[in-house]
Subunit: 506 residues, 2 copies
């Protein structure tokens, strides 16, 4: 009680895009007393652009403008002078999909997997449209249900390959089909996706609108407590801030830490504890771990025709047989659940679908950006040795290159000792991979829905009180743009507007 | 008043699938006094299977099971013994699309037309989602609007080819982009489409459940009038039926004739006239004219890889230029509207996108079924000479075969005088084409939406009174399955159930 404190009108917790947008809008509208505290030593949060071999740049976190028909951040970018804009390139195209043994399975008039995937999405949607109270289940279970109910209308090969092809959605949600909700599976794209080149430029542009004095890096928050109409915020460096408003933009994964007593550096103690509605909602939502591995080659010696490639999880030949002979759905789900157990810790990379962005096609950079999902992400992110990462993915990388008409063996030259190459064999110069699951201030990638979750509950719980002094922003606090950069950005804009309004700043 | 009359509990007007299903369900539930009158000399209505060269069969009317996840008629078919079922084959696949000068434009990673078409659909949807009262406009206008607003995000080639590629939807609606509503454009497929082999088998199966005595073919209805609780129906043969219920299943185009006094054989005079709600709704909906031309070749000498092919309307090279330089949208719409005027009466087939079903791939029959739209349909259906029809489409047919790796010239042998062929050149033995627009009892194909129409109004006006004695069924009287065979079938089922219930038959 005798602590001295620093008075601040609005304190923003977290320097990701939502926090940056919030404080930028506060300042723009004349707020003279605001501060942003960030636990990391850098701004951007889950926007993180890094530099690799020969200065090539990559976004380890979010890297696309999604939903470009409605993406407010993208539209803002378009309104800028060219040199102010971060570059972008539309890179959506029908992905090349290949299977370990069969090879290409996309655009195959016998398999028609693109058409079946669409039918599968409608099948799922109808389950919940026809009965809003229908019990949610995993995407895996729903795929098996589709196969079981429609087996007379599918060929053996379609039954064999569709399940693995349908799993490409794992690379959107960052979690595998067995933990993914069916009810909140489908993604309706509001326009094309554009690869951003690169997000650091956008982060820096917004940060430039904020005086340096308004930032505190390396400053994590320990406690947020109410005192009358004020909010007291205690930071790890021992300082105490007395604020009118606090905007908490920490990831959902960090908010979840507040539900338990466990001692974690990133944990914020709320006093009084988080509202029971928020607690209930946090228990009905989860967090995914989309991870990335970037394979940097010396030069491009593969086809640039396809911007995106999916390597399918290995299909089980007895799978179709089981579907054909099943007497009832439940035992089929049980059997197939067992038959499709993951074995990745023994180096079996083919257990998962993987998504490759062929930057050579999109931006001319001879690298592949590979996306992976839980539980694989946590495993790969636990590795320290790039050679181990390479060895894990080598069989898939080899097949990928073959599908892109490059049949020469991959040469590993991570030490950079090999002389300038004379032939056109693929020389791997560097591997970069994410550590999001290991970082104490992220613990993964972004919000995800397990069966039974309801993402709307959390959004309502965190945002419905227009008069709350402890406010929330971030990708998990908004429905339009949930899980996306522009959604986070909009949420920061939303919170700043509410506070500006409360102080009569228009 | 002194007329003698025949008493019938329920009279069904029209022997298409909705009328057949209705009377079949009445009889199944024990109705002993019902009759179906049909103006044509055959049952089936707009389901019509014909026989061509060497006994090959084609459906000139509807020919697919649409929405097979929810299609009740399809599910009923599946429940039958194999030999009772009409065959079917799922024939959905990414269509091959070609342009007159550029050749193939589908699956092109530079054009990405599939992706842009999807974005265009979302763009349209958003216009009406964001503002439910937004004024409807033609699909053509909306395409131009999209190009204008997004031109900085599109390449010249994308601006050139997307408009023509987007017109493939004309072959669903049966009308061209300039008369098509934007608001009611999008088709959400509830599952794959299956080509039916053939619909005559389904028509016959349902007809078999109805004793012959319950049919009157060649019997058109002149007047439907109310007399107390009864309905009097006067037929062209001078007979008068006194009924408890009448189910009017004539096409929407025939119902429209009742709005005016014009003397037409198919016109039904309603006394009292049709309810004002129905009149208003009929004025807010239109009728399309999907037509078909079937090209029967002697043998297949082309690639069987693609089940469906779209030949695009010719793109105008100055089109992209106009879009780039336009200052305002309205004058752009005006300019482009003028630049894209049709010239088909001078033999310019390239004015329209055309859809080809490659039966050689789907069913092994060496014929193409070509779908066309208004206003082309009315023109082609006005021709009497197959040589004229061939000459009109010859340039497109030639390019189609080239795209399917058949470069030899087409030989015309409609008289069948050519000896068995020795080489692998394509010999055209017969051409069959529809006359739906010329037939007095159809006057086109099925319901369609012009800008400003609202299909729901008509459905409500025709079906909302559960106690009405004059009832309606058909593809235009139902939302789920509107314009589809299964929708018509469901509407017949619906009306029979209401009447069965009124008489306590369960």
């Amino acid at each position: 009680m005798a602590d001295s404190f620093i008075e601040v009108e609005t304190l923003v917790v977290g320097g990701g895009i939502s926090g940056l947008k919030a404080i930028s809008d506060l300042i723009k509208h004349g707020c003279t007393s605001c501060l942003l505290v960030e636990a990391r030593d850098r701004l951007g949060g889950r926007l993180h652009t890094v530099t690799g071999y020969q200065g090539r740049k990559y976004d380890l976190g979010a890297s696309w403008h999604h939903d470009t028909l409605v993406n407010g951040l993208f539209l803002e970018e378009l309104s800028l002078e060219k040199e102010e804009q971060a570059g972008y390139v539309f890179d959506d195209f029908l992905p090349l999909m290949f299977d370990k043994t069969r090879g290409r399975v996309d655009s195959d008039p016998e398999l028609t997997l693109e058409i079946l995937n669409e039918e599968l999405m409608r099948f799922l949607e109808l389950q919940f449209l026809e009965d809003v109270d229908a019990k949610d289940c995993s995407y895996f279970e729903m795929v098996v249900r589709y196969l079981f109910e429609r087996r007379d209308l599918l060929s053996d090969e379609q039954i064999q390959y569709l399940p693995q092809a349908s799993r490409f959605l794992e690379l959107w949600h960052g979690i595998d089909w067995k933990t993914q909700s069916s009810k909140f599976l489908e993604i309706v794209h509001q326009g094309r996706n554009a690869l951003v080149l690169h997000y650091d430029k956008i982060v820096k542009r917004i940060a430039r609108t904020i005086p340096q004095d308004n930032f505190r890096l390396n400053t994590s928050v320990n406690q947020i407590s109410r005192q009358g109409r004020n909010v007291l915020v205690k930071t790890a460096d021992g300082l105490l801030y007395k604020c009118d408003y606090v905007i908490v933009t920490v990831p959902q994964s960090i908010l979840e830490l507040s539900l338990h007593d466990k001692d974690e550096a990133a944990r914020i103690k709320f006093d009084p504890p988080l509202d029971s509605k928020i607690v209930r909602a946090l228990n009905k939502t989860h967090y995914g771990s989309l991870g990335k591995v970037i394979f940097e080659f010396e030069t491009c010696c593969w086809s640039k025709k396809f911007p995106k490639i999916v390597s399918l999880g290995q299909s089980n030949s007895s799978f179709a047989n089981s579907v054909r002979q099943a007497r009832d759905l439940n035992s089929l789900i049980h059997t197939l659940g067992h038959d499709t157990k993951y074995n990745y810790k023994n180096g079996q990379a083919w257990d998962f679908p993987l998504f490759f962005v062929n930057l050579a096609k999109t931006t001319g950079v001879p690298s592949f950006v590979m996306l992976m999902q839980e539980p694989l992400t946590a495993y790969i992110e636990s590795l320290d040795d790039p050679v181990k990462v390479f060895e894990f993915f080598e069989p898939i990388l080899k097949r990928l290159l073959e599908e892109l008409s490059c049949t020469k063996a991959i040469e590993l030259d991570l030490e950079g000792v090999r002389p300038e190459k004379a032939d056109d064999s693929p020389v791997l110069k560097n591997i970069i991979w994410t550590r999001w699951t290991r970082e104490v201030y992220s613990r993964g990638a972004y919000s995800a829905c397990f069966p039974g979750d309801d993402p709307l509950d959390l959004v309502i719980a965190l945002t419905s009180d227009e008069h709350a002094r402890v406010r929330f922003a971030g990708e998990h606090t908004i429905m339009d743009g949930a899980g996306c950069v522009y959604g986070a950005w909009e949420s920061g804009k939303r919170e700043a507007a509410i506070i500006n309004k409360a102080f009569g700043r228009v």
